[in-house]
């Protein structure tokens, strides 16, 4: 609740700051201060949920999970501002507006992690989506950016419609919007409820870019200004997942009904893993590779949605943190380069050892190699799926795909360390270096002691 209010207010304040403050550097400082305040405001709720969660106004449930997830989302955004805040200026004039839109998205995410009413779910998804349509088209002079925005808007509105249809059907079956009281577990399953669940699953799968609802992803991620792609592919995607997970774990997990959607989602997961990984292999641009890699990683996060247990909740938090940190880091380095192809990275290790080291550690994390946060993220979602008991085939598919993912992540490492070249790199400021080191430390610390994060749950 605190995080929701503080992020929404920060968004409004930043719009006005954008009007009155001319210096773009100062706007960035305002944004960083606002995100830190929101982070703290969110954490102040933690003592109140020690004994258990509680529901506010029948709409929002404050729980350890929601507080922790909000903290991860806000923390990742803070890192994002520190690493890439400067890039906002390059997109266009209205820096204040961009920051404001990011804060509105965050408000949607905090709602997504704590809704207890289907109306709130719908609002959360919409609040997350609409600013993204704007951000995707922020570079008004670029045709690709315009195309990305329009494509995203059309497809996004369509899937929102499907979500609404699903909600309506479920309301028809259950007679309530309160997610804890839907009571759909009874056997035989109500056909309206089943249709509703399937429609909702499809709509949410669209939001997290799961195959076969992923077609917008590569174009939108590639066309949008890189700095916003970085945010859309990480924190926002994690927000979509938390809504997905919450909806399905709280309302659809009991009784006979879960068997109906588990199979559908398992197939979606397998398809996401296979298609995402294989497509990423064939990319020539690192930015597009990261777009497909985000689809592939979504496959792993879907493990947590399917497997309903304690490991799944821990896994999604850890995965969100690990994946967001690493991807934001790689994007931050990418934006310092002129050439976004793999060849653009040739010889980076000689020229900028710190950038190369950071990228290597982030890519290790994405590939799930030990002592980086990504390893335990994968570990937890795999554990969740293995504990579920009937998903071993999916686990094996996942493991094979993880091995494939090494191929395209390591292509960047090979280019940086083992190939000769003279990449054009923008000047690196001291602040950027410090932020990069901070991110590396976070990735390694979470990779050694994941308990520091999930211990809060």
């Amino acid at each position: 609740m605190n995080a929701l209010i503080s992020t929404a207010l920060s968004g409004v304040v930043l719009m006005f700051v954008g009007l009155f403050v001319r210096n773009k550097q100062h706007i960035k400082f305002f944004a960083i201060a606002a995100i830190i305040l929101s982070f703290i405001a969110n954490l102040t709720l933690y003592p109140t949920v020690q004994l258990g969660s509680y529901i506010q106004y029948g709409m929002i449930e404050v729980s350890k999970f929601s507080v922790l997830f909000n903290a991860v989302a806000l923390g990742a955004t803070l890192i994002y501002f520190l690493l890439s805040g400067k890039e906002f200026e390059k997109v266009g004039e209205h820096v204040g507006d961009y920051f404001a839109l990011i804060f509105f998205i965050l408000a949607g995410i905090t709602l997504a992690s704590s809704f207890s009413n289907l109306l709130m779910l719908f609002l959360a998804i919409e609040i997350m989506s609409i600013p993204q349509y704007v951000l995707a088209g922020a570079d008004r002079k670029s045709l690709k950016s315009n195309e990305a925005s329009l494509k995203y808007f059309l497809m996004g509105s369509f899937s929102t419609g499907i979500l609404l249809m699903g909600i309506a059907l479920i309301y028809g079956a259950a007679g309530t919007f309160n997610i804890t009281e839907l009571g759909l577990g009874a056997d035989p399953v109500h056909p309206l409820a089943l249709c509703g669940i399937i429609l909702m699953a499809f709509a949410l799968a669209f939001k997290v870019s799961a195959v076969p609802f992923h077609f917008w992803t590569p174009d939108v991620y590639d066309g949008s200004p890189t700095v916003f792609t970085s945010f859309m592919a990480t924190v926002v995607k994690a927000g979509g997942f938390v809504a997905f997970l919450r909806m399905f774990h709280v309302s659809f997990s009991g009784g006979a009904i879960s068997q109906h959607w588990t199979l559908i989602l398992s197939i979606i997961t397998a398809a996401t893993l296979i298609l995402g990984n294989f497509s990423a292999v064939f990319q020539q641009s690192v930015k597009r590779m990261l777009a497909y890699s985000s689809i592939a990683q979504a496959g792993f996060m879907l493990f947590a949605v399917i497997a309903i247990n304690q490991f799944a909740a821990q896994g999604i938090v850890l995965y969100a943190a690990a994946y967001s940190l690493a991807t934001i880091g790689v994007f931050a380095v990418l934006m310092k380069l002129k050439d976004y192809t793999f060849e653009g990275f040739n010889g980076l290790a000689r020229k900028q050892p710190l950038l190369a080291l950071a990228t290597t550690i982030f890519l290790f994390s994405l590939a799930g190699i030990p002592v980086t946060a990504g390893f335990f993220a994968k570990y937890f979602v795999l554990s969740a799926a293995i504990q579920h008991g009937h998903l071993l085939w999916l686990v094996i598919v996942g493991v094979l795909c993880a091995a494939i993912s090494v191929y395209y992540y390591f292509r960047v490492i090979m280019a940086m360390y083992f190939k000769q070249g003279d990449p054009e790199v923008e000047p690196i400021s001291g602040g950027f270096r410090a932020a990069l080191v901070l991110t590396i430390v976070l990735v390694l610390v979470l990779g050694l002691f994941p308990g520091l994060l999930i211990g809060w749950l």
Partner: protein, 471 residues
């Protein structure tokens, strides 16, 4: 605490080495490896006096029930000793060589040593997995940065192979974790599991594939000759001397004790694969003209015999394997040192371009003959006793298996003698006429190898006593 020290010495030295310049890294590497050998000898003494002192447990991830749990038994101590000696030999040999970017080279070498010792001392499955991966990553960078022409695709293949294997193992580890009553990763919980036959049947393959890729056993061996050929020779020494032992160690420490019935059930398959590997690799070795590939294939053959003897699963076979793990490590490193010397002098690896080196480099020739003969297991050398025990173990299990595996010895003699003849005897040529004999550093390293060959060949009892100490 000594055990922790064994990991920490190379780890910290490795991190420091990255920041040093000039001859700093190699001096540090030498000091660190001497300290490691001293510590390893210390653990041998402690193991005889008070084995409990070698264990160390502290919480790591309490939410998962995973602990940082290190300990040493006879096998672990032997392998740590081998690791320490191997790195010392490598560092002595390359002390006078000019290496590009020595700080990264020594840093990565020392980090891989830390990873290897971590694997050999881990008694917690998750920690074992983490070290298993950590040992691989520095080696990947070493091979890719200092290797031969085709190094990048070759080492990448190596990496993906082993990574896939270890991910399968991770699935197995997580599955076993959920079967333990107290949800723990410790070795004792894993070994006290009473798994059903149905579970063991498929879990066996998750672990076996991971270890078989590392050893490597036929048909998972295809990464190995390329990698050995393309890697810089110091790294090849570590790969073939110590890293392949990770696979054997994994089978002995984790696979057989945790899944005994699975191992017994698939033993025939595993042994047949190993024996195919022995004969196949030996045949290829006979027609190799590339010196590095020849030794790589001979290594596949030797490892094949060890893996067959493990799955024969009897006292003698296992003892032979334990003994041979150490001896094979020493001998193959000795051979690689000579290859390194030849490459350094001649700049070629093709045996057809060599010949007549005995006249120009008599000391090297003597060392080559002794080490090669030890490698094929001549009596009075260290290779003999281990092979004898392994064959008698295999014989008890099945006569026919032993007979086919025995072919390997004959073939080994053929390609080894052929290699000796081509390299050091015969007519010299313009290339070999300019060669020079061993330098002091190389002589010291090879003398150490030969001393160990004879001491362990004549009096293997101390080593047998050491390796038979169970945890």
């Amino acid at each position: 605490m000594l055990t922790v020290l064994l990991i920490l010495i190379p780890f910290i030295a490795g991190l420091i080495a990255f920041g040093l310049k000039g001859s700093g890294p190699k001096v540090l590497g030498m000091i660190a490896s001497l300290a490691s050998v001293a510590t390893a000898i210390g653990t041998v003494c402690t193991l005889h006096a008070d084995p409990k002192k070698l264990s160390f447990v502290t919480d790591w991830i309490p939410q998962l029930g995973s602990q940082f749990r290190v300990g040493l038994d006879g096998m672990g101590t032997m392998l740590c000793l081998l690791t320490a000696i191997a790195f010392l030999l490598v560092f002595i040999t390359i002390y006078n060589r000019d290496i590009e970017r020595p700080n990264s080279f020594y840093g990565l070498m020392l980090l891989s040593q830390a990873g290897l010792v971590g694997v050999f001392t881990a008694f917690d499955a998750l920690q074992f997995y983490v070290f298993w991966e950590l040992a691989l990553i520095p080696v990947y960078f070493l091979c890719s940065m200092w290797g031969g022409e085709k190094r990048i695709p070759v080492t990448f293949k190596f990496f993906v192979y082993t990574f896939l294997g270890s991910l399968l193992m991770l699935v197995g580890i997580i599955y076993l974790y959920f079967q333990t009553p107290d949800h723990s990763f410790s070795w004792t919980s894993f070994t006290s599991l009473q798994l059903s036959m149905g579970d063991q049947k498929w879990l066996f393959w998750l672990f076996f594939v991971a270890f078989a890729i590392k050893m490597p056993v036929f048909p998972f061996h295809t990464w190995q000759p390329d990698t050995y050929e393309q890697s810089p020779t110091p790294v090849t020494m570590i790969l073939s001397g110590v890293m392949v032992k990770m696979g054997l160690f994994g089978v002995l420490r984790w696979l057989v004790p945790v899944l005994p019935e699975g191992a017994a059930m698939w033993a025939d398959v595993a042994i047949v694969l190993s024996i195919i590997g022995i004969i196949y690799a030996s045949c290829i070795a006979m027609v190799q003209s590339d010196l590095k590939r020849l030794i790589a294939y001979s290594s596949i053959a030797h490892i094949g015999l060890m893996s067959a003897a493990i799955f024969a699963h009897n006292e003698q076979g296992t003892q032979g394997v334990l003994l041979q793990m150490f001896n094979h490590g020493i001998n193959i490193i000795g051979l690689w040192i000579i290859v390194e010397v030849i490459q350094n002098r001649l700049g070629v690896k093709n045996m057809d371009q060599m010949g007549g080196m005995a006249r120009k480099a008599p000391r090297m020739a003597i060392f080559l003959v002794i080490i090669s003969l030890a490698n094929i297991g001549l009596p009075l050398t260290n290779g003999f006793i281990g092979e004898f025990l392994m064959f008698s173990g295999l014989f008890q299990y099945n006569h026919w298996f032993m007979a086919f595996a025995g072919l390997g010895i004959i073939l080994a003699a053929v390609y080894t003698l052929n290699m000796i003849q081509k390299v050091i005897f015969g007519e010299g040529n313009t290339l070999t006429d300019t060669t020079t004999d061993l330098q002091p550093g190389e002589t010291v390293a090879l003398s150490l190898v030969v001393i160990m060959i004879f001491v362990l060949g004549v009096y293997p009892q101390p080593m047998l006593d050491l390796v038979s100490k169970a945890f």
